[in-house]
Amino acid sequence: MIGLISKDFLVLQKLMRSQIPILIAMTILLTFSIGNSTYTLAVVCGFLLFSSINIFYYDDAAKWDSFAQTFPIKKKTIVKARYCSSLLTILGGILVVTILELISKIFVSRSGNGVSFVPILCVAVFLVCLLFSILFPIIYRFGPERSRIILTAIIMIPVLIFILLGKSGALDNLFASLETSGIESMIPIYCYLSVPAGIVLLLLSCLLSIRIYNQKEF
């Protein structure tokens, strides 16, 4: 498994080397223009998603999967390695974002009304885990090329629904009812619980992916 995990990072090395300076530049821009580096989280989430899905495309282009079947390892190990390398990528993302946040706090004074960093980080991690949990089995089932349209729909449909709800005013009503219900005070707890929830989702997704991969032919 270690060989396969190291393969993922070796393949992504070049991509990461070009992305990290962009990340740092965007953090500096956002921090100094908005006074808040939390939006960097969105950039990091996008990067994590992009790089983890790209690995599937790179493997497909190299016909790596057929070659991997000739290794003395079980199919489930190949799937587990992919999930492990994705988890490690998430951990790396958390580290990068936390460092950027700490650095930005030194250089930029924040107003008191700013959103707390840790709950938002937890929610971001949950969202990334959720997307991985949905996307990976789809890619294993349909292959990277055929799953492009499905992946686009999975990402775009919730965004479109969110925009439509926002325009219709339904979201304003929802937020107002949340304020009055007192649930707002519990949001930090939900945020902290979202990380273990995300990991549980990944585990379940891994089991599904193993099942799909075991039946696959190459």
Partner: protein, 286 residues
């Protein structure tokens, strides 16, 4: 004699209508088997079934006396595989490929891998995308040999290579089988390579094995009889495999050229090569 590979009654069908039908194949230990056939005949499909990349509908496949499905890890530790294209990511280098593969194979031999890189003149730090086709193939072979496999499976490994590189690669395979505990299953269109190195030849056509015999026996027993129409009509159909008509007369692929020579001493009877046998089997008339 022990067999490194035994396939019995292998069947595999696909939705597009293609099927492997009742494949039987035996590769004795210490030998080289050439696996020949047209494009789409079933060579790669058979190899994929051997490696458990495809799930057969029925039949058994034993490697080193063990069924691969039940002993996958132990068996694959001793197999080296070379496909027609280098399956390593182009952004990787030979050095990085070793970092990956050395953690996968228990018997990975780093000094052996390095010696192959030196022998093949492969720059270890250069990205694979900057390698020529011949260099990529040599790298694939280095990766396949560096973990001391007992069985080498090659699927069109020499296709698209120039004669000089092919000769170098054949030399590597020849050295590999000097150890009599090593075997090679090699699918190839380049029958001249197989005539140099193979001990056995298996011919597959439309998913069926047409023959699987020692190479020398095949090349010695088959022959091409050349005659005119009158003599052709006198021939016993059971004597030949197929014939081809041309402007000079008839060319007939006979099963036993010594017997045919005795029966038809006045007819021209030539030795045959694997290319001609393939063409007669596929395109000849019966």
């Amino acid at each position: 004699m022990e067999n490194d590979l035994e396939i019995r009654s292998l069947n595999k069908s696909f939705q597009n209508g293609f099927a492997l039908k009742d494949i039987n194949l035996t590769l004795p230990r210490g030998s080289v088997m050439g696996f020949i056939g047209q494009n789409g005949a079933g060579k790669t499909t058979t190899i994929k079934c051997i490696l458990n990349l495809l799930h057969p509908d029925s039949g058994t496949i034993r490697i080193f006396g063990k069924e691969i499905a039940q002993n996958e890890i132990a068996v694959k530790e001793k197999i080296g595989v070379v496909f027609d294209e280098c399956p390593l990511h182009e952004t990787l280098s030979a050095e990085k490929a070793e970092k990956i593969l050395s953690k996968i194979y228990q018997n990975w031999d780093s000094s052996l891998y390095q010696s192959y890189l030196k022998e093949f003149k492969l720059p270890p730090k250069r990205p694979i995308k900057e390698y020529s086709r011949g260099m990529k193939m040599k790298l694939s072979i280095a990766c396949a040999l560096a973990h001391h496999p007992k069985l080498l499976i090659l699927d069109e490994a020499t296709s698209g290579l120039d004669p000089v590189v092919r000769d170098e690669i054949l030399e590597i395979f020849y050295n590999f089988i000097q150890d009599e505990s090593h075997s090679i299953l090699m699918s190839s269109h380049i029958t001249s390579d197989l005539e140099k190195i193979a001990d056995y030849i298996t011919f597959i056509h439309h998913g069926k094995i047409l023959f699987s015999s020692p190479k020398d026996q095949i090349l010695d027993s088959f022959g091409i009889l050349k005659c005119g129409k009158q003599n052709f009509e006198m021939l016993d159909p059971s004597e030949y495999i197929s014939y081809r008509e041309n402007s000079f007369g008839y060319e007939i692929l006979v099963k036993d050229r010594y017997l045919s020579k005795k029966k038809h001493p006045d007819m021209v009877l030539d030795r045959v090569n694997l290319d001609e046998i393939m063409v007669f089997f596929v395109k000849g008339e019966k």
